[in-house]
């Protein structure tokens, strides 16, 4: 199935962002065609200088480095005034395709399922 997983939660408020990544990897491992979309507060997953170790937290974003290994099809990011993160240093691990509302409309239409924790 062509599945879109949407991440709109902050990477550090609880487990939703991590759970979304885990879900994506599992679906991909079972031969679904998985794309990831970062939006809203989820965009903060894309910042370079997270320091989870500074707070004794797990660096589960290491996994994002290897999304292609896990056969995640595409990674998208939805622009957002509230978090203008492309003015900041972004992670080298992922190069998302930035999309506007029109592009996102297409994206939602072209996937068979959408999950949004």
């Amino acid at each position: 199935m062509k599945v879109l997983v949407v991440i709109s939660s902050s990477p550090f408020k609880g487990d939703k962002a991590k759970e979304s990544v885990d879900l994506s990897l599992s679906l991909a491992a079972f031969d679904h065609e998985v794309s990831l979309l970062f939006k809203g507060e989820g965009l903060l997953c894309l910042l370079e200088d997270h320091q989870p170790k500074s707070s004794g937290l797990k660096d589960y974003f290491r996994i994002l480095k290897a999304l292609d290994l896990y056969e995640i099809e595409s990674v998208y990011a939805f622009e957002c005034q509230q978090y203008p993160i492309n003015q900041l240093k972004l992670s080298q691990r992922i190069s998302p395709l930035w999309c506007t509302a029109d592009k996102l409309q297409e994206l939602l239409a072209s996937h068979e399922m959408v999950f949004h924790l």
Binding site: S8, A109, V114
Partner: protein, 92 residues
Amino acid sequence: MKSLFLINRSFTQEKLNECLSIMSDQDLLLFIEDGVNNLLNHNLSFNKQCKAFLPDMVLRGIPNTVHSLPIVNNYQEWVDLCIDFDKAISWK
């Protein structure tokens, strides 16, 4: 592919506009759970196809008079909508 959008919480004007802007004209937005609270907000304008889920309005004491959206009357109608539409998208 036409999609059924499910909204289960209060939205600001900006959030709602974002959601409406990513819906196509064939899509439908259904307000469920605390999403029906949006019907109280006179500042929101629903410029795509939107409906409200009656059981959640009744539970919350939100009268039908506060808005002019079409109603989905019960869970069976909701199930039927899921079948009419290609997929359901729980948005937030």
